[in-house]
Symmetry: C2
Subunit: 599 residues, 2 copies
Amino acid sequence: MVLRLSNLFLRTLREDPTDAEVASHRLLLRAGYIRRAAPGIYTWLPLGLRVLRKVETIVREEMDAIGAQEVHFPALLPKEPYDASGRWTEYGDGIFRLQDRKGADYLLAPTHEEVFTLLVKDMYSSYKDLPLNLYQIQNKYRDEERPRAGLLRGREFIMKDAYSFDIDDAGQAVSYNAYRGAYLRIFERLGLEVVPVSATAGAMGGSRSEEFLHPSPIGEDTYVRSAGGYAANVEAVTTVVPADVDYTTAPAARVLDTPDTPTIASLVAAANQLAPLAEGEWKAEHTLKNVVLAVTLPTGERELVVVGLPGNRAVDTKRIEANISPFLTVGGEVSVEAASEADLAKNPLLVKGYIGPGLTVDQAVLGAEGTSKLLYLVDPRVVSGTTWITGANESGKHVFGLVAGRDFGWDGVIESSEVLEGDEAPDGSGPLETARGIEMGHIFALGRKYAEALDLKVLDSHGKLTVVTMGSYGIGVTRAIAALAESNHDDKGLMWPRAVAPADVHVVAVGRGEEIFAAAQQLSADLEAAGLDVIYDDRPKVSPGVKFGDAELLGVPTILAVGRGLVDGVVEIKDRATGEATNVAVDDAVQFVVAAAKA
Amino acid sequence: MVLRLSNLFLRTLREDPTDAEVASHRLLLRAGYIRRAAPGIYTWLPLGLRVLRKVETIVREEMDAIGAQEVHFPALLPKEPYDASGRWTEYGDGIFRLQDRKGADYLLAPTHEEVFTLLVKDMYSSYKDLPLNLYQIQNKYRDEERPRAGLLRGREFIMKDAYSFDIDDAGQAVSYNAYRGAYLRIFERLGLEVVPVSATAGAMGGSRSEEFLHPSPIGEDTYVRSAGGYAANVEAVTTVVPADVDYTTAPAARVLDTPDTPTIASLVAAANQLAPLAEGEWKAEHTLKNVVLAVTLPTGERELVVVGLPGNRAVDTKRIEANISPFLTVGGEVSVEAASEADLAKNPLLVKGYIGPGLTVDQAVLGAEGTSKLLYLVDPRVVSGTTWITGANESGKHVFGLVAGRDFGWDGVIESSEVLEGDEAPDGSGPLETARGIEMGHIFALGRKYAEALDLKVLDSHGKLTVVTMGSYGIGVTRAIAALAESNHDDKGLMWPRAVAPADVHVVAVGRGEEIFAAAQQLSADLEAAGLDVIYDDRPKVSPGVKFGDAELLGVPTILAVGRGLVDGVVEIKDRATGEATNVAVDDAVQFVVAAAKA
């Protein structure tokens, strides 16, 4: 195929669009791959559509290779199945909802677990039909609060979503691993570095879950890895839990006057003055900080909870959001923030700066059984027998030597504190370092949540009705294009990996001579005949500078320039990514480019 | 490719689904090509998706062949462009509307004229950039009042929509004809008979317009054709207008008592008694029937109009709907129905059964200038000098010899009456016959409506800003599949044309012997190696009857049965459409099937 720039529907932009913050967004707009239709909603122009189709094809081939079968669901779906799973409510403002002319409720689906479950229920009834793997490549919708960075976080976007159906957990594990392998092959073929990291299942539910993160400074996901190979989304990191401490000989706790110590730093300073240690000194990690948080449920309700954690650690609300659902009455995505003055004012038992669990178990203030009735969750480091300096629930007073499990209890343990560089990996593989990544894919061992909610059962080999176990597996197809652009560009433009480039070679006719255009056209035709896709810049009155600029902006891997060298029988062939340019005899040019394309 | 029925995601149904009225709907469901997700909204199962991709590919190739470039717009679009064109209002209840979390209005686009116009405006600025042809194959949405007949009238469906942009009308005509040709080739390749018929532009606006109708008794469109080659949608048929009549010697009109003659039949009988003609007798066609109609505008407002037409013709509200917009103040789709008793009660000048234009021009009752102030439109047969018996606006009285143009006038002429078999074609090509068809495609010479509304101008060759002229061209991709199924089936199942069949050959292993399955599997592999797509029924414990039934239901063009004949070295190869079965030597089978597939 030869695309001629004289009539290709394309206008490159010299200036950066003002609303584009990240390189991929800027360059995809400037190079005429996409155009904005509304916030977070894009139109695909001819070159962009070519890249999109190539990415889709790679994804499709690898799905087919593991025996997944392609289907295609509607994007517009009725409310009922999402009601049955609870997600109609759980998604809160995050999805587009609408009504038809008869007033029936619909949504634009963000993901399709429910309807795949119903489809299989509708068609299959026996363990002999399983395992079953289905997928689709399809428009998805999310009403993002802040659509950003072009295709990286859009409101209409393309995903490949796949679903596995197995009769038992062992089968599910096999399916899960098949997708995991396919995903690694897909990203490898796309030329996109990814790190698979352990993740929390979030609103999706289920047990095992991994994200495939593309390391990038503009990524929204923070993850950690150790030199020994551990990798996890920060939300999913588990703390190395210390052993319980024997507290049989621990002295009784005592309340001391600690005026003007509402912060951890001021408290530590006061402690070292009031009750200096025999050896060493008090540090922030010896204090138990109790932070009041407001949790907004998908229903819009606001609940207060208190989290207790060592004073040297900050609260990480994202980690709490990812892990708090077992302690709430409503499922779904929640948002967590610091409680407001107004929240605190409603709970007079909470004395700001001096909040503590209470002086004895019988006098508990925090906790569902305490006088405050507020749920009290503690960091995993707060194990039985650990001893703390913490608030005494009176202004200017703290209690010293309060023993966990002896003097106070809690409603649950939650991963609540910031993960710090240097923390130990939970698998003992060494200290953690943090990095940022873009979520390219996410796989979930869903278990039986959806099958139970929607009653997907089949007969097992003993003739007994058995709930099916499922997995769901997503790849952001349009987001992959943004990530590829993000990691494959320079200040002049895009530099597509071959597998997804809109063409194999970009032929530029430089100069005015008719013989130059004749030669360039012949080379384009010969390259096409050799099976390559060609962009041919045949624009007659455009300067060499503009043509080369456009070639570098568009980012096709090989640029072939036909110009002044033609009188000496040579053309210039340049590798867009390395910048390496070679003069090649006209007669050898096609072979040279073909070799580069197949390399 | 070999699809094995032992693991293909497929369940055929023995019984007809109760809610499926037409054959295509029933069979596409029963054969496991589609599944209903909501009213008018379907899921594509693996076999259906294969057919869909084949249809899309044919459409895409023919669009590419005329130089149209593929792009892809969002389905979710902001209100503003549709407000600028007026269609946000004009579509009334017919589209899905929604708001995002910030309260901004969006729609699920039913067609994309506005945003294509804006895209071209955004990117192009000179006549040198034109002509430009763009298309997409994409999900479309309509909130149909009565989604019906499966894919024939859905609420989420796939269309190919294309748009042409030209600097002048001559260029537009060239573009229009290019699409017209491409459409005929597409339907030819699909194996789908179509009749191109003249159509009205409806809410789309513009001048020339043709529909491509697939003749079918279940079609919703009535069209007419003459032996001489005329073909038009009934809405678009124009009446052969009689010449004006010289009325200088016509006698004065006179009012006669015609008690109890509220119907045309009773009036004609009374006329023949009261004032018999010297020669022949009064007939219904001599009376002028004045029908009060209620027009519901897209805004929901209800306006009354009166239509005058010869008494032997019935009002065709669809024809009026298609042609009334020039007489209304608001554009867009309207609905027309008979006025209710309540409507009439509000207009005491209208005496039911005895309504007439008034006895003289100065005493006009009907018409914007008449005492009723009601718009008065007449059938094209009511030309100047024609003489009528019509209501005298008093109960029990009619006026005889009322002369059009002398005694009464009108606000406009409208195609309002039913087209009857035997009416003359407007181009003189003979009498019309009526038929029903399914609308498969529609092409519109839009003119400058959208370019003007959205200010799409380019510099012409004199450096002057010129409004671009456009065309829009649609094909119902999913509907084409329904039409193909509708016209290619028998009582046993589907009979796909080769170009769109989900596979080339359906291999059936009949019986239990291992050697039968071994041979069937080998033949499937050999057929695949020969470049054919194969469905292989390898189910071990399914009876021959069920297997043959499924093969006929699925409708692949060639069925190859490996069974008892194998001991004699033969297999049976059957043509699904003709039913012709041939015993072929095993060694010749692949060649035989390949020959059939390429025929």
